[in-house]
Amino acid sequence: MPRFDSLVIGGGLVGSAVAYGLARRGLKVALLDEGDVAYRASRGNFGLVWVQSKGIGVPEYQRWTRQSSTLWDDFAIELKNETGVDVAHEHRGGVHICISEEDFAARRRQMEQLHLESGETRFEYEMLDHAQLKKLMPEIGPEVAGASYTPYDGAANPLYLLRSLHSAFLKRGGQYFPNSRVGALKAAPHDFTVTAGGAKFNAPKLVLAAGLGNKTLGALVGLNVPVEPVKGQIFVTERVKPILSMLTIWVRQMAEGGLLIGESREEVGFNDATTPDVQQFLAARAIKMFPFLRDVRIVRHWGALRVMAPDGLPIYEQSGHFPGAFVATCHSGVTLAAAHALRYAKFVADGALPPELARFSNKRFDVQNAA
C-alpha cells in the first residue's frame, strides 16, 4: 500500500488547488478523483475572480476573498511558468450591473456596508448611473439603471485553470488517481486509509475537497459538512468577436470569443437538468442587459450544482476527533484558487488553521449556536 504525506479527495477546482499547494511545499500527495461522469461544480463556474459581492456582513469573508484576488496576479504567472498553460487571468476591475432602480439602490447600500466593515483593508467602490456605465460599456442596454464598480475584480478561464493545476500538481511529483471514488475510509488521528478505485491509500493527512461529496465523507472523519446542491443553469454562445468591454456578472466573454450567460439559483436537490422556464428567463435578462445578444446563438445550455453551505460561506475545518483530516468547500472555486493553493495548503501542511479562518469553522452550524 503506497504511503503519502497527504491524500486529497476531489480533483475539481478546490481539490486540485490544495493538492498543488501541498505538492508545492514538498509533500507527497495523492489526488483521488471520480470518473468521467461526475457532478463537478467546476463545470458551472463562470471563471470570475469576484470580490465586490463577497462577505456583506461578514468582513472575514471579504478579507479572505480580497487576499486571494491579490495573490492571483502572481499565481497566474506561476502557473504559466510551471505548466505553459495561460489561464487567461485578467485583473481590471468589474461592474455588478443593476437592471432596475430598486436593484441599484439596494446595491449602493450593500457597497456602503462593505466599505464601512472593511476597516484597514479599505474597500472602495463607485456607483455608476446609466450614463456613466454607458461610457464604460457602450453595449449596455437602455433599460439598465446602473452598476457598482470596484477595481478588485478579475477573471480567469476555469477550464484552463483546472488543466493547469492538474499539470502543475503532476510536475511537482503529485500522483493523480482518476476513476477513484472513495469506497471505504478508515480514520484514526493522523492516520487515514482510503480504499478507492480498487486500491488502498494511506497518509497522516487527509483533505476533503469533494464538493457535495464532503457531506458523506465528512461524517466518516467526525466533521459535519452541511452542504447542499444549488443548481445554476448557464448558456454558452457561438464565438463572437470581442464585444464585452468590462467584466461583469451574468454575462462573460471568454478569450476564444464565446459568451457565458447565467445563472439561476435553484434548490432542487441533485438535479442538474436544464429547464425551458429558466432558459427563457436567462435569455430575456441577458438581452435586457446587452441588446446585441438578441442575434447571438447559444450552442449549449447546461446545469451545474454549486456546493452551498447554509450561509453561503466556505467551510474550513480540521476534525477534532481525527486531527489531520481537513475539509475545504466553497462556491467560488476560481476566486479562491490562489488562497487555496498558497495559503490553505500551508495551513494544512502546518497542521493548524489560523484564527482568521475561524469564521469559516463548521462549529457555526452546531445546534447550540443556532439558539
Binding site: V240, K241, G257, P291, R297
Partner: protein
C-alpha cells in the same frame, strides 16, 4: 469545384456570392451554390483562420457556415436559395453590432 449536369434543367435564380452575381439552380442550397460557383474556401475558422468548405452537406458538420442575407453562422446547406440572396464568406468568428 462542382458543375450541374446538362440535363439538370430547371429554372435558375441570381444570387450574390461575395459581391459577385451567380446563376444558381432554383431549389439548390446556398452551400451547393458556393460549390457550383467555385467560391471555396467558403469560410476561415475562428481558431486558426484555416480554410474550410462544405463537408457533409446534411447539416451535421457545420463547415458550411456562411453569412446569408446579413445573418452570420447560417448552415448554408440547409438554406434553399432565393432570388437576390446574398451569400458571403465568413472570416473567423462572428462580428456583432451594438
Amino acid at each position: 469545384m462542382f458543375k450541374t449536369l446538362p440535363d439538370a434543367g430547371g429554372a435558375t435564380v441570381i444570387v450574390v456570392i461575395n459581391g459577385a452575381p451567380f446563376s444558381a439552380p432554383l431549389g439548390c442550397t446556398a452551400a451547393a451554390a458556393l460549390l457550383l460557383a467555385g467560391a471555396v474556401p467558403s469560410r476561415t475558422t475562428p481558431v486558426s483562420g484555416a480554410p474550410r468548405a462544405p463537408y457533409c452537406m446534411m447539416g451535421a458538420c457545420f463547415e458550411c457556415l456562411a453569412e446569408i442575407d446579413g445573418a452570420p453562422n447560417q448552415q448554408a446547406c440547409l438554406v434553399p436559395v432565393v432570388e437576390g440572396m446574398r451569400i458571403n464568406r465568413q472570416s473567423g468568428s462572428v462580428a456583432t453590432k451594438i
